[in-house]
Symmetry: C2
DNA sequence: GTTGTTGGCCAACACTTGTTGACAACAGTA
DNA sequence: TACTGTTGTCAACAAGTGTTGGCCAACAAC
């Protein structure tokens, strides 16, 4: 709370508001609810209750439920830089990265749970993979023409694993530890990314 | 519609009722709605409208929405008998079978769309894979101890593919034709089913 | 001080949901 | 004929939804 009137005389900084803490609390609660329940079952009232504020404040600060979701699901996969990794390690590195990313950020789970029944969430998911996994595949694939297909195939395995482990909770998939998951999925992603069909 | 009063003098047959056509129409409409919208967004009223009947009839014949879903999502994967297939063709045969199964029966899509937010649907999905994919893996896996894990891994790839192709509609995955899908996914399933880690 | 603005709560709106019960049309049977 | 059980229609309920507007206290600027 120190230096409340810090400089924001230019650039994309916006003025700090007294309600910033409330806004952040709403966003945090929204992410948790969307991740746990999906778009339709996550209610404004429940989100507001989690944030210990009135439901009408959610509307005032984010307009409507749709925009709240858009704000809560802003996301960067932070894909690793594989330039320093030998090609035979790409698959394992990708799987390891995604495992950590899924565990550490509820936004991905919120997107997955919501994307299945909510078109806007599905569209966001398409954008993320097109804009982030696509270019990575384009840089690393042996033939550029197949890059989009390779990115899509990687998505099928990564999202399928997340679906079975975090959403459907299939016991054998839940029980896999980190090393085993990398050992099993790594070669698959490796093949999709790098091998010829 | 011929032979309306066929024999049902024993066994598990139940007496034909004048409302059988209505019951069937409800079930068909329910499957379509659950597949298209998931459990919560598929409303009793919409299902009834599709079946051209009154919403209250749905309740009379199926009790409540939960039981309607259970009746609509009864499912058999009809896994192929791989005994006559050489081991190196198991992966491709499995992928081909699942592709046809997904395309030909809306129940699987209904289960997937609903299982993400509805616990009962997720539980049904776990049962199906435990009871049907599990035993198949147990018969074909090189070491019985790994059978459950192998079945789970196959589920991650198969369900992930269905998720990306039919639900999220990632363009590169939608664009894959049948042969290409088999060529890419076959070796993955093959490895999960048969290879040592 | 007295303004104007912001942050928050409360009560209500209009609508949709699953679900229920009453009632009329019909079938089969005695 | 009258009686009984089935099929279907209609209207309503109670609960929950996203969303809106009004009200008041706390703050900021003068």
């Amino acid at each position: 709370m120190a230096g409340v009137n810090a400089c924001w005389h230019d650039g994309d900084m916006t003025a700090p508001r007294r309600s910033d803490a409330t806004r952040a609390a709403i966003l945090t609660a929204a992410r948790e609810r969307f991740a746990a329940d999906g778009f339709e079952r996550a209610t404004i009232r429940a989100i507001a209750a989690d944030a210990s504020i009135d439901p009408s404040l959610v509307m005032r600060y984010y307009g409507n439920k749709e925009k709240l979701f858009a704000a809560a699901a802003e996301f960067d996969l932070r894909l690793p830089d594989l330039d320093g990794v030998p090609p035979e390690g790409w698959g394992a590195a990708m799987v390891a990265h995604f495992l950590d990313r899924w565990a550490g950020d509820e936004k991905l789970l919120a997107l997955l749970r919501s994307g299945v029944t909510h078109e806007a969430a599905a569209e966001r998911m398409r954008e993320i993979f097109a804009a982030q996994v696509g270019p990575l595949a384009a840089r690393l694939a042996p033939d550029p023409a197949s890059a989009a297909t390779r990115a899509g195939l990687i998505a099928t395995q990564i999202l399928g694993f997340a679906l079975c482990r975090f959403v459907l909770r299939l016991p054998p998939v839940v029980d896999l530890d980190r090393d085993a998951a990398i050992a099993w999925l790594g070669p698959t992603v490796q093949r999709y990314l790098h091998d010829s069909v």
